[in-house]
């Protein structure tokens, strides 16, 4: 991370986009946005604009990749060429391949993969515009797309980053904070079981700061979790109204 002189926290303790240290960016979530997919979700978090789609469960091809006792979950995290300031080559980068793996591993603990042996479920994530912490925003959307596809799940997975910006531990890093800040800690969380399913960190933190950042990120996950559930229910709210 580079050492720019730009002020990221002002005298009042507010961040570059006017947020308080423990404040999330505005979030908008919509479920069931793509008619071709078995499940889908669209999310905006700050300037992040991300689509997630789920196809399956279906037969796995080539067949030798199928597992006899469980479903294979596959995930592709991909950034659109126009999603960042300088055009990104559409070919998957090493970063995207790593993120595809950690996102899949963050979601897998929530899915009853043992229910449907020999099948595959594909999760496709397209980052249409990137504004920092995209892996977390992607996980939040992908877990909703899975629920929308009717895939049995233990819980929704909510994800949020925390980090250190100019000696302050802050929630939900935006693009500038991510690039110029001292450390970034993305976390994915399953509230029911109280477990962390994604945890990464880069930068420099003392163990006390790290603990504080993880706990703050979990608080953020809890707020996002509430929004996820609301968004999922909103899709069926018409059903509910007619019934009452």
């Amino acid at each position: 991370m580079s050492q720019k002189t730009e002020k990221l926290i002002d005298k009042k303790g507010l961040r570059i986009d006017g947020r308080k240290p423990d404040e999330l960016r505005p979030i908008k979530i919509e479920v069931g946005v793509l008619s071709n997919a078995d499940g889908s979700a669209y999310i905006e978090q700050g300037k992040n604009k991300i689509l997630a789609a789920v196809y399956g469960p279906k037969e796995l091809h080539p067949k030798h990749l199928a597992l006899p006792d469980r479903m294979v979950l596959r995930c592709r995290y991909h950034m659109a060429p126009f999603s960042v300031q300088e055009r990104k080559s559409p070919a998957p980068s090493r970063r995207e391949i790593e993120l595809s793996k950690v996102i899949r591993e963050a979601i897998e603990p929530a899915v009853f993969v043992e229910y449907y042996p020999r099948t595959a479920v594909d999760i496709f994530i397209e980052v249409l515009q990137a504004d920092g912490s995209t892996r977390c925003t992607s996980i939040t959307a992908a877990s909703l797309a899975l629920a929308d596809a009717g895939i049995p799940m233990r819980d929704l997975v909510a994800a949020c980053s925390a980090g250190k910006v100019e000696d302050m531990i802050v929630l939900d890093l935006n693009d500038v904070e991510d690039k110029v800040g001292t450390a970034d800690v993305p976390v994915a969380y399953m509230p029911n079981l109280g477990v962390i399913t994604l945890l990464q960190m880069d930068g420099i933190l003392t163990s006390e700061e790290f603990e504080k950042a993880v706990n703050l990120a979990i608080e953020g996950c809890m707020k996002i979790y509430a929004m996820q559930r609301e968004a999922l229910k909103a899709k069926y709210v018409s059903v509910k109204e007619v019934e009452e």
Partner: protein, 235 residues
């Protein structure tokens, strides 16, 4: 032993439904003596059993189910059929030909080709094997006419209605022959395309409002109104 929702309330995966001595029914799971939802749906408490009637689910084959599928591949001794499930189904040539199959003589594409629709029963299926189909009952086999409607498989029971009341009403009012595939695929064959359209409209309406009460009456009124609009059909 508390429960945390009203009956028929909307729940999502991870919602805590009940705690204590309950049995986890459909689309729920138990962990640490707590019962949670695993799918989006409406919660039902029956005695000590907790179910979620899923609003989003896919078809999982069960032996004995009638399904409607599309032939997607002609193999050397049978057909591969897409039955709108995570697993492709197999229909053996001997099953259709009613005699042993002679690879030298029989051209399977003459019997069923890619794109053909079939009504069949699930003859066998388990975790380790793909479903096998059979067509050895009257009414089963290749579909030659009619229209196909696809709905969420979990809503098929609603289309049938209590003791088949809904489906017999639609059949009677539209004069159409209707076959319901448990896999969410419905075949409608009527005397005229107008009759078929009427039945299709009714089925879509049921899918939309599957979780409302007094549905059979409303659908009946709807069909009659539409018939009047079209100046009365000869049924």
């Amino acid at each position: 032993m508390p429960t945390f929702f009203e009956r028929r309330q909307l729940v999502v995966p991870g919602d805590l439904l009940a705690e204590g001595d309950y049995v986890a029914g459909e689309n729920t799971f138990k962990s640490n003596n707590k019962i949670y939802a695993s799918r989006i749906g409406l919660v039902e408490y029956e005695d000590n059993k907790v179910n979620v009637v899923a609003l989003r689910a896919f078809y999982i084959p069960r032996v004995g189910d009638t399904v409607i599928g599309t032939v997607v591949e002609v193999g050397f001794n049978g057909w591969v059929v897409d039955i709108n499930a995570p697993y492709l189904a197999l229909l053996r040539a001997s099953e259709v030909l009613n005699r042993s199959f002679k690879p030298q003589k029989d051209d399977l594409t003459q019997v069923l080709d890619v794109g053909d629709l079939v009504v069949a029963k699930i003859a066998s299926y388990d975790r380790t094997h793909n479903p096998q189909l059979s067509v050895d009952e009257p009414g089963l086999g290749k579909i030659t006419r009619g229209q196909i409607v696809k709905i969420t498989p979990t809503k098929i029971p609603r289309v049938i209605g209590k003791k088949g009341s809904m489906i017999s009403m639609i059949k009677q009012e539209t004069g159409c022959h209707i076959i319901l595939g448990q896999n969410g695929i419905i075949l409608i064959t009527g005397k005229s395309p107008e009759d078929e359209e009427l039945a299709i409209m009714a089925i879509h309406k049921i899918e939309e409002e599957a979780h409302t009460t007094g549905l059979t009456d409303r659908i009946l009124q709807l069909i009659r109104k539409e018939k009047e609009k079209k100046g009365g059909l000869k049924t």
